[in-house]
Symmetry: D2
């Protein structure tokens, strides 16, 4: 068996195939060198050349910074005056996220963005709305993924991944919400208010009157918040209960779709930052189809494309639909947003804010 003095030539040729040269400016893979000490910012900047999702993170930082830069571009006077729909911003940023992120500590990053009016439109699910208000009433706790459902139910403790929410929090939510629902029905009957999910969310943001709340700031800063299936959660439970005592509330979703689409159509340019999948991802992307595609896009989620779900689809699928521009460079980061989004905010919005403050002070 060990006879011939040369390995089979097919094997040698296949293994030792020569390569064409790559472009000279192609980035080389190189990670952070801890011998230079722990410099977190330099570490996060090294992600771009670290490969895999670290590189995707680095690309997402670049993409969001492009949105921020574009957003700061001055908008021409003339244009503004003749088109009342026009956004005053050079780039309208749509932020979407699923309910669980409001339950988690990612809420504080989102609140920061709303507080400082760093995003222009928000889309979330019913849970993404109500959990913010409930957290103003009572805290959510850290638990474990493996806690048994039966034992938790017996104690009235609800589990969201490794978070725990005592059911009493929802009772407090009912106490807070019911009088507001009464008032909404009254206004509908007496003033002809045509309620939509976005109007209701604004009203709730005003009523909570608490600077910890995302939607308090959305109200204060006039950032519209869309959530077409607003009845799908505790809000729906309360509206259902309330309908027996004081029936008649109407929540119309037609006016909101027009309002949302207008935000995309009349924008100078748009960016999408979408955490998670499902409705929030589809709704923002679909609105951006109305303008023949978003200019910038960052998706952060753990979904995969193989099951054909919109949640797991790569940004390139959205390009086929005209939801992202053909010449855009959208980025998907395959990761749990609880780790990635606070880091993204640190390297983009918050870093930029710190920079602007520093520049102002040095003037």
């Amino acid at each position: 068996m060990w006879s011939s003095s040369e390995a089979p030539s097919v094997a040698r040729a296949a293994v030792l195939k020569e390569s064409s040269s790559l472009p000279e400016d192609m980035p080389q893979i190189k990670g952070y060198d801890f011998n230079q000490g722990v410099d977190h910012r330099a570490l996060l900047q090294s992600f771009l050349t670290t490969g895999f999702q670290a590189s995707s993170f680095g690309q997402a930082v670049q993409e969001i910074n492009k949105m921020i830069e574009k957003r700061l571009e001055p908008v021409q006077e003339e244009q503004e005056s003749c088109d009342s729909h026009s956004s005053a911003s050079g780039c309208t940023i749509f932020l979407g996220y699923t309910s669980n992120l409001i339950s988690s500590g990612v809420r504080e990053s989102i609140r920061y963005l709303a507080q400082h009016r760093m995003v222009d439109v928000i889309v979330t699910t019913a849970g993404g709305i109500e959990e913010d208000f409930i957290k103003c009433l009572a805290p959510t706790y850290l638990g474990e993924f493996s806690l048994k459902g039966k034992e938790l139910r017996q104690q009235g403790i609800n589990r969201i991944g490794n978070l725990l929410v005592p059911n009493d929090n929802y009772c407090k939510f009912e106490d807070w919400l019911m009088p507001i629902l009464d008032q909404m029905v009254l206004e509908q009957k007496t003033e002809g208010t045509h309620w939509t999910p976005s109007k209701m969310i604004h009203r709730l943001g005003k009523e909570i009157n608490n600077p910890d709340s995302v939607y308090y700031w959305a109200y204060k800063n006039d950032i519209p918040v869309f959530s077409p299936a607003l009845t799908d959660g505790s809000l729906g439970d309360m509206i259902y209960f309330h309908s027996y005592k004081n029936p008649g509330l109407v929540l119309d979703i037609v006016e909101d779709i027009r309002r949302l689409n207008s935000k995309a159509v009349f924008a100078k340019s748009t960016g999408m930052i979408i955490l998670g999948g499902g409705l929030v991802k589809h709704h923002i992307a679909n609105a951006n189809l109305m303008r023949n595609g978003a200019d910038f896009a960052v998706f952060v989620n753990t979904g995969q494309e193989f099951d054909g779900s919109d949640s797991g689809a790569r940004p390139d699928e959205a390009i086929s639909w005209g939801k992202i521009r053909m010449d855009a460079s959208p980025v998907k980061v395959y990761a749990d947003a609880s780790i990635v989004f606070p880091l993204l905010v640190a390297e983009t919005f918050a870093h930029n804010a710190a920079r602007l403050i520093k520049e102002k002070n040095s003037d």
Copy 2:
């Protein structure tokens, strides 16, 4: 180094630890023996003792068959007469699925269930509605996951995973839908029709008048279909366009949440079959909280719990919320529903139907 004549005792003790005996009736792992030929039904029955997701599949078959059996149980006359909300069925089956499954050939399995009134309530997303109608107007094609978005957009071809939908299909949908929207606005204005997503879906099912359509059969068999975010898709695009020509349509989501919750509250018992995550999963489970939990549940999806999403949550999380009963034995199958759901229907609803027909014929 090779001195002592006995391996370290700690190692031997750890590796060769004795075991307590397991219960005698515990099922042994044993797969299908192809030496007995290819008997597909026996093969699928062997899944129960094959382990991993094959066993989950086997358990899902058992769980759905429990729903079907319970559903056939006679309902007492008396109860029925005094409570108009009561379901005539011993088990109200809620079926939920995401849009992509209607785009895929799973649609034909779902249509079969609606046609033969094998489920009682349907919940889906906007895409899960419109894609069914669009497929009555023009076909969807098999493509590849890796086709480039830019080239597809240039040709006006939309990609859904490895499916392709020519954009002309959506143009045909507009042609079909616009006159119906006109009619809906007219009825709202002249007859005071209070439109909700479920009423609109019923109407569209009537108008399509095509036995290939899921919602044609839902209309014929009076199966309510809920989709609170009905504007999030092509239907929303068309409603948006239509609002310029003929404004005023109102789609109210409050009446639908009451209707959906009533389906759960007044059921004798309930079963949930949910394909995919997001809104459809949460909406059905939340409705079942209204009855202190579903009695039976089967989830089929590819989501994972680690990111705290409701989509990926195990059924045990729903137990903590009271959305599934504490004594239930819910099943999650981690798989793409395109493979698993037709096989589940084969071993449950369709098998049972064949059995009933055989029994009838032999009488």
Copy 3:
């Protein structure tokens, strides 16, 4: 707000973009129609046009059937006589699988393939070897994924996903293996046997002498089984213990790599069927690089590419390395093999065997 009579033209143009026509022979998406009764074979054939992973399953059936057909092609006499390395088979099929599949009931499908010499080379991990023998000594049971590790350890029950293996099974394995190891050391010393993992596996297959065993048949049918890290598991534990009592055994991995590579280099054509990732996937693909790529390939696993792992890499990555031919049409099915592999065997190897028997009988 509801003023202009036409929706923004950019929106209409984007949504209603016309499409180029698709090729006429493009397959249309169409699922199984249960109105024709439950015909499992027709159902599985409908998967090809069902979309998503159902279509991938259909394509995997086609790809494996191509391997089988090619394998049956007559090999020219001449070629055979002058090259002793030559395979007598028109297509050398490499089958790889991870340990857990032998623990599961997929083992019976694999055993069927080995028994009827339907595959030519096997690659697996240490666990994939030892679990087959252990199952000849005592059974594995069906448990649950959520059983607590601490309680199981206290009872000496090992968990593999939702499978349970009493630790006593490993004690029985020790009793069986130790005398064989003694014998192997003796032969090494007296006869100069140069042991490699593949030779040891063959010997164990001979010794187990049990038709339930995969490696009994691999031994009988002279199918080489490669497992370079054969010490990574219970076999390693036993070899470690044995080395104190009777030291000196040498297991060489160099001879095996030459033997494995030769199987690829001297094959007429090759096909790879790989269940799971890690070593088994890489080892088979790397051997096929030696022939400038496999002609056919089917991967079944749940891995994803985003983390840059070889386990999750799409077949297209293997093409870049020359591990799969540039003109091949490899298929990846994203699924748990416990569901998919028995169904694949049903529609390919086993179906084909039944067909051949039928043809023979009708002669």
Copy 4:
């Protein structure tokens, strides 16, 4: 329908179930407040109370810091003198990682740990060895996941996720390796060297003589590196080619399993840090079974348990096997290690090193 003045009592009772009180010291969910500026260290510390995988990250930091602290504990003289196997370290840290991480910039974090002797035992795959040496010969580049395999192969460019490795790099590796293999065969023949994978890796680390190399430092610092399937990669290709020119090299895996197991058995306590799955995860955990379980464990990977793979198994499965102690508090972070591992090193090993230097300087 809107008659009764009270919602069904079953619904109210289910939704408004009272909760038992939670322990007072339970951590509340609270994310980072960017209003305090961008303080990366405070941000990463806030992860513990952010929920989902951010909390898992925070717990992993704590677990690794426990290993480091334990490792620094003084070892009693007496014990040391009478047992030559004893480790001088209070906690033997096993580090495992898959090949792709060496291809990525995570390599620099691993090199830092080896350089400063912060870990005690390394386990990796063949690729995890050779890619380190190859990177000393020529760079790896950043590409894209979607680059076409066929075009890349035509240019001789190999893809690893979104990394690109020109095939010339492997030719350079051959040039470097062949003379070393000659020398190894010579030493085997003349000096009776009994080669094992760990001995070969040490030798290669010595030969590369380059401070960028992980295995240069492993050699310098006498950190054993285990890789039982060392032939499964480019090293195997070269050994295969070399076997034709200069046959006879033997690589024995039996001596290495004894050496690896001894590292676990004779340790005071052990910690496992495992990035990725497959062989590296199983091999380290199996060695720790020899001591009845590791005391500390951190897994970072993207695998899931549903398919019964060892790769995706939760640490709790390892407890059932005795591979992790019953009273341990192991942590799994579900994430791509390219993002998470450099951050973990920053908050543990590197932070600790900086702290120690500061303390020393202030003395």
